[in-house]
Every structure is written in structure tokens, then in C-alpha cells.
Amino acid sequence: MELHPVQSTGPQETFVLNLGPQHPATHGVLRVKLTMDGEFIKDAVIVAGYVHREHEKMGENRPWDQFLPNTGRIDYLSAMMYTHAYVGAIERACGIEVPPRAEYVRVITSELNRISSHLVWWGAYLLDLGGMTPLLYAFDDREKILDLLEALTGARLTYCYYRVGGLAEDLNEGFVEGTRDFVKEFRPRLKMFRRLVSENIIFRKRVEGIGIIDAEMCRKYGATGPMIRGAGIPYDVRRAEPYSVYPELDFEIPVDPAADSMSRYKVRMEEMEQSLRIIEQCLDRLPDGPVMAKVPRVLKPPEGDFCYATEAARGRFEVRIVSTGKPIAHRVRLRTPCFGNLSLFEEAARGMMLADGIAMMGSLDLVIPDIDR
């Protein structure tokens, strides 16, 4: 809070409200300078950068593969997909063929990671709306995913499991059975979540028709992921720019044309269902074989620009590497989904009520380090 008095700034009597950097609804250290007219937001200015770590510079001053741990710390909730984009960019540049088993395991772990990320969002979003209990239910299930991935990767959150050319290690014993058990247990839980929350009249009143972000706005701001799918356009990097083994898998891209907070909510809930489908298919088809391709000891991608995008839990995450043929990158550009998704908040929040603005901000599913990098 700034300590200047609440003062009239003209006939409208507006005042500035600092939402954050420490505020329960900003999910981290994000500051929103709101110009308020009573309960109405007249103007919103995002002040970001509180957890800026300059990952892109870090990418430029170390060997290619030593940047891998950083990728898991950009969006700490979907570390798998982020690492995937980075190793994918290098593999694309070097022309490395990844063994099929590694690709399938990558997809399984990515989708597990997506479910756990969406579960955090689901709990935190309900927390934004004042319902505390769902968070604990969500964490109950997320815990099982974290246990599975911990046994596999050694980390619970900032996984660094993928390597250029494959995986750090093959699946541990019990992972396949544990994942199958999880899928079986989680389906009825998802149904319960729907019954518990999605049909709740108070919840629906708070999100339906609130925070309309249409496809045109998404296009102008580069918003992706559940934002664009919640606006009715089936844009998913897994289909639009197919990577890994996603083209072989059978899954749907959930869309909802209403473009409000509820449709983004529905899209994410449905995505968890689709992730379960993907995991099941991958477990059924999981081939045997090595999990690591032959990769030179020192990576020297050829000269040029290479992009690789993955569908992270929050949208399109893209790594653009510029190589000069040296063992160190010339430029690593991280295009993060939350950056584009949040940048439209300033426009979209104008004229909303404070509580609706928070309901909308929650539906963007922000991870602040993802914006600040």
C-alpha cells in the first residue's frame, strides 16, 4: 500500500489502488496499479518484473545443455513442457532423432505435468473467488502426480528430466502402474470436481459473462492456450505445429465459444480429461528401446534461427535459439504464454468491478515468473 491519502482527483473522485505486489489475488509478486472509481476499475496498469532473473542472458553465457535447469524455473508449474521446448529447439537445430520411447515418455510426463498445473489453477481460482475447500481437494490429487514424478525425476516441481536427444533416465519401476492407477482414480475425482464446483450457482454467477476476451483481442495481443480456446478457436500447438508423438495420438481440443471466464474454466477442466486420454494411449503404446539418442558430447547447433513451440499449460511456449555454430548460444529467446495473456488485462479490465477484475485475472491462470522470466 502506498501511504498517500485517498484524495479526490477531480469531479469523478477516482483513487489509485495498488493491488500487490503482495496481494492474495495476484498469485505472486505482480503489481496492478488500479485507478478506481468506487468499486469500478477505470484504468489498470500492470507493473511487472519483481521476479525478473534474466534467463535469456543466462542462456547466452553457458553451454547449450547447461541451460536446461533454468527452463524448469520459468513457469514452475509446467516445467516439463518448458524443458521440452528447449531441448526440442536444439534437437531441431542439430537434426537429432529422438528414440520413440523417449518421445512417449515425454508426452506422458508432460501431460501429467499439465494436469497437476491445471489442478493448482483450479484450486487457486476458487480461492480467488472465495471458496477455500477446492484447493485442498485439488492438492490431494496433485500430490499423487508429484509423487509419481518425484520418483521418476527426483524433483517435485522444477523437473529437469529431458535431455537433448532423449531423457535423463528410463522410467523407474512402478511408474507405469502408478500412472495407470492415477488415471483410474482421477476420472471419478474430476467428475466430483464438476459436481462440487462447476454446477455451483454462486460460482456460475461469478464467472459466466465476466471477463469477455474474444478471439480478436487474443489475436491482437498474442494470447494463447486456454484463452484462445476459451474464445472458440481450436488453436493448440500440439495440433497446429505438431511435435513429438502428438500427431499419432487421438485427442480433442476443447473449445468454448462464450469467451468469458467460465469458458476458460470449462476448457481447462476438459483439458484434464483429454490429458488423461493421451496418457492412457501413450501407456498402451509405450515402445521398448533406448531413451537416449547418440548426441555429441559438445553440442554445436548449425548457424541459424530455430523455433520450437510446445503447448504448455498456459498456452504457447516457444524457444527461439539463434546459433552461430558455437557451443554457446548466441541468443535464447523465451516466448512465454503468460506474457501475452496478461498484456491484455489492462484493456480488458477497464470498466469492470474490482471483484470481477479479480475473477478475470484468476481465469488467465498467471504464473508470475513466467511473465518476468
Binding site: M1, L3, P5, V6, F15, L17, H23, P24, A25, M36, G38, E39, L126, L127, D128, L129, G130, G131, M132, T133, L135, L136, Y137, D140, V197, N200, I202, F203, K205, R206, M353, L354, A355, D356, I358, A359
Partner: protein
């Protein structure tokens, strides 16, 4: 009035104050335990058996904290607000009939006095929000006033419905009319108003709103307003608000029990009246806690719409309906 009467009243007030304090402390425990159960976790377990000493530890912590007055705040009002919150809550207990005999004063305008006392908390919260020179506090103060104005009206309409049935403002009088088995309770007084359960639900909703409980906790909406009017309060300043909030919940539930659920009268006829009163009272309190941990918060205009567009018309209708029914039957 005998010579012993003032002493009895004083003792009763001391007892009521103790009850309010302990009740608040242990309702916090009940709430935390209950929330734990609703959320598939254990709740407090460390301090004492099943965390039973947790409220005492919390009180010790709150009392040992510094009372900070933010710079630029209205010092006097900032200090006064928690003080204004507590005494009316305790005073209200002097009027509540816990049983036939356990009642401080049986006022013949008891109901009105009760509502006069319980309306005080609005002023206290508003002053707290306004005086702390915090923007969240000011938004909260504005919210709490408009919310209470909106919900006092349907509540009063419901009470008038009961008054027409009872013909008295005395709380003991109202309870006495519901003596006997449970079908004599006002909740089931379908003969004089077939919509009585609806009336009860309206009352319950209004009571939740008047006591700033979820899903109507607009004043304290922590994901929007941090802690609303209480943002700047530290230590016991916050603790007093906390206690008074729980006292108000108990008062609200007690009114519901007295008006609708037959007060101290037993549905089956065993055990003394106090037992039944407290049983019904804490069942209602449990429902309040249950609601809080189950529902998300409403939106502010949704809250006002609910009152002005739904609750007030329905309560006017039930009022007229029972007026007609009483005249006819």
C-alpha cells in the same frame, strides 16, 4: 425489582462476557477443526489434545502483539472501533433467554433491543475501515454499510411476520408460544403461513449477510480486499473484532432458534431447557460454518440484487400472506 436484582444482572453480564470470550475462542477451534474435516485434513492437532489448547495459544499470541496505529489514521476512531464492536455483542447476551430461568432481563421489547444491539457492528466495521486510512478498508466500509442496509429490510419483514404470529416482542413470550412438541415451532407453523420454511431460509440468509459470513463476506473478502476493514489492525485490535464476529454469529443463530426453532423447548421432553437451546444454537452455528467452507463468495452486486430483487419481494409476500391467514383462521 428486589435489591438482589442488580447483583444478579451484574453476575449475568460477567457470565455472558466470559461466555462470549470462551465461545469465540472455541468457535475458532470448531471452525478450524470443521474446515479441516471439510477439506480432508486434520485441523489443529499440536497444542493440547486434538488442538484444544490452540485458542488459548492464539489468544496469548494476539495479546502479546503490538497494537499498531498506521500513520495518518484517525487515532481515536481507530482505537474506538473494536471497542464499539464488543459491548453491544455482550449486551445482547443479557437479553437472550437461554432457558426459562437463565435470562438476564426479560424485556418486553426484547426483540427490538436485540436488533438494536446487533446493528451496532455495522457502525464499528465502518469506522474501522474508514479510520484506518487504508483504501481496502474504505472499500470494505462502503460495502458493509450498503450490504447491511440491504439485508436489514428483509430481516425485519421476516421478524414482523413472526411478531404477528406471536403478538409479543418479549423473547420469552415468543418462545413460550412454541412450547410442546416440535410441530408447535414457528418453523412448522404452516397453518398460519404455509411459506414459513421459506421465511426461515430468508432469515438465515439475511443472518449470514448481517454477520459478514461467507458466502456474503464482502467486508472481509480476502482475495479482493486483503482483510477489508481489519487490514490495518494488529494484535488484540484484530482479536476483538474476531471475537465480536463470533459473538454475532451466536446471537444471530440464537435469534433464529428463538424465533423459529422453539428456543429452549425440547422436541421430546427430556433434559433441561439450556441443553436444548445450546444444542439447537450450535447446530445452527455448525450450519453457518458448513456453508462458509462449501461455497465461494458472491459478487457484490449479486448480493444486493439478491436482497432487493428476490428476498424483499418474497418476504413482503410472506408477510401479507400470513396477515391474511391470521385474519382468516
Amino acid at each position: 425489582m428486589t435489591a438482589a436484582e442488580p447483583i444478579r444482572l451484574l453476575l449475568f453480564l460477567v457470565g455472558a462476557a466470559t461466555f462470549v470470550g470462551l465461545n469465540a475462542a472455541y468457535l475458532v477451534w470448531v471452525e478450524r477443526k470443521g474446515a479441516g474435516r471439510f477439506q480432508r485434513r486434520a485441523g489443529p492437532t499440536e497444542v493440547g489434545y486434538a488442538g484444544l489448547l490452540q485458542p488459548i495459544a492464539d489468544a496469548g499470541k494476539l495479546m502479546s502483539k503490538q497494537l499498531i496505529v498506521p500513520p495518518g489514521a484517525d487515532r481515536m476512531l481507530f482505537r474506538l472501533a473494536p471497542v464499539m464492536m464488543m459491548p453491544p455483542a455482550i449486551m445482547a447476551f443479557a437479553i437472550l433467554p437461554f432457558s426459562e430461568y437463565l435470562v438476564g432481563i426479560d424485556l418486553n421489547v426484547g426483540l427490538i433491543a436485540l436488533f438494536a444491539f446487533s446493528s451496532f457492528n455495522v457502525i464499528a466495521v465502518m469506522l474501522a475501515g474508514w479510520s484506518s486510512r487504508n483504501k481496502y478498508g474504505i472499500i470494505s466500509a462502503a460495502r458493509v454499510v450498503s450490504q447491511n442496509v440491504a439485508y436489514e429490510i428483509p430481516m425485519m419483514l421476516v421478524i414482523i411476520t413472526i411478531l404477528m404470529l406471536a403478538g409479543t416482542l418479549s423473547l420469552t413470550g415468543i418462545v413460550d408460544q412454541q412450547a410442546g412438541a416440535f410441530w408447535n415451532w414457528n418453523l412448522f407453523a404452516l397453518a398460519s403461513n404455509p411459506l414459513m420454511p421459506v421465511t426461515f431460509i430468508i432469515f438465515f440468509v439475511c443472518m449470514l449477510s448481517e454477520t459478514n459470513r461467507a458466502p456474503f463476506d464482502m467486508a472481509e473478502a480476502e482475495s479482493e480486499l486483503v482483510a477489508g476493514a481489519y487490514t490495518e489492525y494488529a494484535g488484540m485490535g484484530f482479536g476483538v473484532f474476531f471475537m465480536a464476529e463470533y459473538a454475532n454469529i451466536v446471537i444471530g443463530c440464537a435469534i433464529a432458534v428463538i424465533l423459529f426453532l422453539g428456543g429452549w423447548h425440547s422436541p421430546v421432553g427430556v433434559f433441561p431447557g439450556v441443553f436444548w437451546f445450546l444444542l439447537k444454537l450450535y447446530f445452527m452455528v455448525f450450519v453457518v460454518i458448513w456453508v462458509r467452507w462449501t461455497f465461494p463468495r458472491t459478487q457484490f452486486y449479486g448480493l444486493l440484487n439478491l436482497s432487493w430483487k428476490i428476498l424483499i419481494p418474497i418476504s413482503i409476500f410472506t408477510l401479507l400472506l400470513s396477515a391474511v391467514m391470521i385474519k382468516l383462521v
